[in-house]
Amino acid sequence: MQLNWTFKIFGAALILYSLIWGLLIPLKPGVVSVEPRKATAGQNVEIEYEAYNVDYLKDEEIEVSAWLLLDSVRTLQATDIQITGSQKAVAFFQLPYFKESDPSVMSATLVITDSIHGYALLPSAIIIQKKLQDSADATQNPLFTQVQIDYPEGSTFPFRNILKETIRNTYYHVPLWFSMIILFLLSAYKSIKYLRTKKKSHDIWARSYAEIAIILGVLGLITGAIWARFTWGAFWSWDVKQFTSAVALLIYLSYFILRSSISDPDKRARLTASYNIFAFALLIPLLFIIPRLTDSLHPGNGGNPAMGGEDLDSTMRWVFYPAVIGWILMGLWLSELKARYLVLRSKKEEEFMSVWT
């Protein structure tokens, strides 16, 4: 498939766009850590928290406030806030007593907002133990307050507590895999075409698609491993997704080993086309079915959110979808270059042979 030059420029522009905006757009502010994580109802508590992507010391007139969300109705505003660093502050809360119907332990979400950066929250930030009000103590704690949430101006990416800045990997890692799968599919399609028509150019195209797909696959594996280093703690942890995708690359490496070990071009084209189709058919259970049945840490598996859940908001979509289209077009363009080079080379070889014979 030869691309029109407008598609090539379009693809390159989309990749450039996703690189620039994917790296430049800041993340929303977030809460990184909270101390202490436990408290008892009816007591005063000082919660020291560390925020992300905020600068409390930059502006003198910044207004910071904090809330604890106990459930859908009960919210508690901090009585006072002391800023201790550019990203650190201590919030003072007067925890209310529990009602009789409450469970013995409740977890509260910490929400912080300020007048410049907007809001940030940490789910289950603090665990509060149940304590009922003594009948002798008559003072009632204020409970119902309204949370004022100011949305920050400009576009931002969502803040996730474990992912942090690595959420940007969505724009590079995922489109690389999409592009790889499409190129493998086209490679298998060209192999079927070759077996049907026995035209040499189909074999060349099948080879070029597979070659570029392997390069994209290796890049996808590397970006995934770097991401895993920061979120899972290790570059390689034998997660089923890592394992099966590495095996998929091994399958295509053996396709090239097979190619290089047969000298007769017609036989090589025929046998490798058969192997390519066979391998692609077995790739489907390997990549798409088995990882779904096994526990995995990968987003989209084992109850982890991915793709359209809470990890992809509308700002991200504006970068993610162009990146997918861009990488697919780039993959097609690269394989086209490779195939055209190989066609020219085989023509040259034929000319050379015809001079000699």
């Binding site: 058919a281 390997l286 088995i290 049945l293």
Partner: protein, 205 residues
């Protein structure tokens, strides 16, 4: 195709192979738990299946190859090889099972599941190894490519099989193993369909 079976006169070789690998395994491990038992069983089986599939296509080239292809269709030739490999695999499996059970005890609790898994795996393995063995026999010069070509492709089967037989040994608890069994059968069906489609193109010269 009795000739296929007769030409596979490698029964003593298989017995020797199974016995010697079990001895090596026992000199290396002091004690084998259920998980390792299952993994060892399948590794011994897969390696010996690769070996026998490589040998079984020796006669597809040269004069005897021409003779076979003059008297029967390529599908007939190929599927008789598959059948022969299937029975050899079954034999090896029984031998390996007996040897391992004799030396290190028998961890399998759910026999029906283990047998189902085994039969599904034998079908898949014999088809896959025969297909790639046939392909491998067509390559002049380098004959040692079969493990390289087949082991990455084996993994879907092997992953499922090891998981299912670990369940049958009671080392892992999973009540919804039916889905895994269906996937194993689906992979078998996929391999069968692919070999049926592609076998004609491998034999064409």
């Amino acid at each position: 195709m009795v000739a296929q079976w007769r030409s596979q006169s490698s029964l003593p070789a298989i017995i020797l192979y199974v016995l010697s690998t079990t001895f090596i395994v026992f000199s290396a491990f002091a004690r084998i738990d259920e998980r390792n038992w299952v993994v060892l069983y399948w590794i011994i089986l897969v390696l010996s299946a690769a070996q026998s599939a490589q040998n079984s296509f020796r006669d597809s080239e040269g004069m005897s190859g021409w003779y076979y292809f003059s008297i029967c269709k390529v599908e007939e030739y190929f599927f008789s090889k598959v059948a022969a490999n299937f029975f050899l695999l079954a034999l090896m499996a029984v031998l390996t099972f007996l040897c391992l059970s004799l030396f290190s005890g028998m961890p399998i609790r759910d026999f029906t599941l283990f047998l189902e898994v085994n039969i599904a795996a034998w079908i898949g393995l014999s088809l896959l190894f025969s297909f790639l063995g046939f392909l491998n026999a067509k390559i002049e010069g380098q004959r040692g490519l079969l493990p390289l070509l087949s082991f990455p492709l084996l993994l879907p089967i092997l992953l499922e099989v090891i998981k299912l037989s670990t369940i049958s040994a009671g080392a892992m608890i999973d009540t919804e193993y039916a889905a895994d069994l269906y996937i194993l059968l689906a992979v078998d069906a996929l391999i069968l369909a692919m070999t049926l489609m592609l076998i004609r193109y491998i034999w064409q010269s």
